[in-house]
């Protein structure tokens, strides 16, 4: 890093390459630092429910490592991403509704700055009022302020009982209104995921499932036996009130993992809807009260566009994704896909939401950052200039190069 600073050479940190907005493109050339080899779990403090890992450790690797401690790391963005990458992009995923995002689960960091200085942020204490929250400043900074090399993370007790379920609904609005009511009731659901009818068609075609091809919710509850049973009962009641069709429950681990397999493979299942296509993947997040309106309007917009676009979402957070399936090389179709994305983002912003719930800005959403944050972007730029005056850290991401 000192040499790169001396020679004014850009530095791009690389984890597993699973980010979605062009985060690791070397748009100004430079050195790409692959952190994959920094893959050691440095400490696990079972009594404090925390650990410290090198940036290249992946989430699955960490969970395998702590398997016998009674603890687990809940953040699951889908891909088996590196924890450094998940930190840098403020990742979240299916369990954020219960366990929070990387923002809430990072206790501290080791960061190498643009000039080669190494700093540590945070402490192992659960809370602190000591100075600026540099940890949260680096979480989500997408490699533009420094290279994250170590991460201290919270772990959580493996729940005594876990119960999963699938339920189809007559309409998209019915499914989403079930989610809204559940969240407003304060039911501490661990996951609550939406797959729309198009996505369910893909899931069946891709993996040989036989689900109803209707808007469908996947749930999971974590807690004591009694708490899980109570939560599941309350949610079942809410779903029935919104026209939910038959519930399919799974309690045993192997049944649960088969059930979640349908959710976990949505990228490939989605692409199977149109063989040979590539997916332009985008996400937004809106206040929960606007979620039904936002998803229904988006579905209508998609249908009018003539594009094939399954919808999948971490709807408990108000967050959903479009997989816009485009034919590689078809410039007209790509332009229609990008126009759809732009309308989606402006719809979300108009509802008080954000242009990205969990994918980040990268190179792809720079224009939307200004639409969302206005004058605040100037403050972000001032912070960037203070920490990286030569603009060497992942240039061209978050801000135009």
């Amino acid at each position: 890093m000192r040499l790169c600073a001396k020679h004014r050479t850009p530095v791009i940190a690389f984890g597993t390459g699973t980010s979605l907005e062009g985060h690791v493109g070397a748009v100004r050339g430079g050195v790409c630092i692959d952190l994959g080899g920094m893959n050691r779990v440095l400490e696990v403090n079972v009594d404090d429910l925390d650990c410290r890992v090198q940036a290249g450790v992946t989430r699955k690797q960490l969970n395998a490592y702590v398997k016998d401690t009674g603890l687990f790391f809940p953040i699951d963005p889908g891909a088996d991403a590196s924890l450094g990458g998940m930190t840098a992009t403020r990742g979240s995923g299916t369990m954020a509704v219960r366990y929070g995002t990387m923002r809430e689960n990072v206790l501290g960091l080791t960061v190498v700055l643009a000039d080669g200085r190494m700093i540590r942020t945070g402490t192992r204490a659960r809370k602190s009022a000591a100075g600026y929250d540099l940890t949260r400043l680096f979480v989500g900074s997408e490699g533009t302020l420094g290279v994250i090399t170590e991460i201290a993370l919270r772990l959580h007790p493996v729940p005594q009982a876990i119960s999963s379920a699938v339920c189809a609904f007559p309409s998209l609005a019915d499914a989403v209104n079930t989610v809204i009511t559940a969240i407003q009731s304060g039911i501490p659901v661990a996951r609550i995921e939406l797959l729309d009818d198009v996505m369910m068609r893909g899931v069946n075609a891709h993996a040989g499932f036989h689900y109803a091809e209707r808007p469908t919710l996947f749930f999971e509850f974590h807690g004591t036996e009694a708490a899980v049973a109570e939560q599941a009962g309350m949610l079942g009641e809410i779903a029935r009130e919104h026209g939910g069709l038959a519930f399919q429950w799974a309690m045993r681990p192997e049944e649960r993992s088969r059930l979640w397999q349908a959710r976990d493979n949505t990228l490939y299942a989605g692409m199977a809807l149109r063989p040979g296509s590539k997916a332009l993947i985008t996400d937004v997040c809106v206040p929960i009260s606007r979620l039904a309106e936002c998803i229904v309007a988006t579905r209508r917009d998609i249908d009018a566009s003539g594009l094939v676009v399954p919808i999948v979402g971490h709807v408990g957070d108000g967050n959903f994704h479009l997989l816009v399936l485009v034919k590689p090389g078809d410039a007209g179709e790509l332009a229609r896909a990008e126009a759809l994305n732009e309308r989606l983002v402006h719809r979300a912003l108009a509802m008080g939401g954000t242009c990205t719930g969990e994918h980040g800005i990268g190179a792809g959403k720079i224009a939307f950052l200004a639409a969302e944050h206005g004058e605040s972007v100037a403050v972000m730029r001032a912070v960037k200039a203070a920490l990286d005056p030569q603009n060497l850290m992942n240039p061209g991401k978050i801000f135009a190069a």
Copy 2:
């Protein structure tokens, strides 16, 4: 703010004046802006469990305002502080173990910067990966980066059932080990507070209670009737294993508020132990596994010092406070009190903790910030210089003037 910038005049934002580390002292003169008159609740979005308030609204005022919505704002630092002040100092208090601190409960801010520009940070979405987390940068910045004028906050559903309890223990270690086991077991306790035997003596003397004058835990559980009963049962079992004496339960609101009154008045109860004294109040926070060791060693240090010092703590977070009772004007006693504080902080830092869990740095803990964060303080200073190049925003706080 524009005029102050033009005339290079320091600006000190003032809420209710209840901070504890000299946060609002005008050490370089300047204009003190009293935000007490900005006391309007601007919006309450019941369906989204959020609200937006002006900075001068106090936490009790907000809770009175939302009383009929089925929602409440849980953060309770003791004093009826302004929400602007609680945001600026990253406040927390008794319910942080369950509901988080201000860090987790602020969704977005309106801030007037040192040059008079006004920015908005965050959105109403529950999560976002769009750019730097300016919200968290201003939370805990103690008025040194700008003046917070509006705050968007999360609200939480009033739990269906609440149950409180008090339990005395044979020793400080027994009480603290009960807490540690409860947290490690993942019991979602809403509050778990420690008052040591000296503090309990003050509580009895001050308010006419007749509690055992032993280390005592105050608990509270929030949830459904069944969940609360289950959690209380599990905690009772853990307490008994650690020698917990008779439990005293309170389910009805008036019983509960009488029970918590003993906890809520600890400042005055503590000062009643030595009429005419003033309290030098300090706090640290350590990893939960080191909490018993840290508190027991601190109690031993206090006893050797000859000072009168009750201990009270939000022990579920690993956070505790000393009320060092000193005679005004006695320089020798003040010096001993400060030496005790210094040993306390270094003990906490050596255990991987922080020099302040919730009171902040202010003017009082500047030296300890460097001991805790080392080179990171230079990064904090760089951020400060970028946003407030003339050092007009609450100078002499967090960093030396």
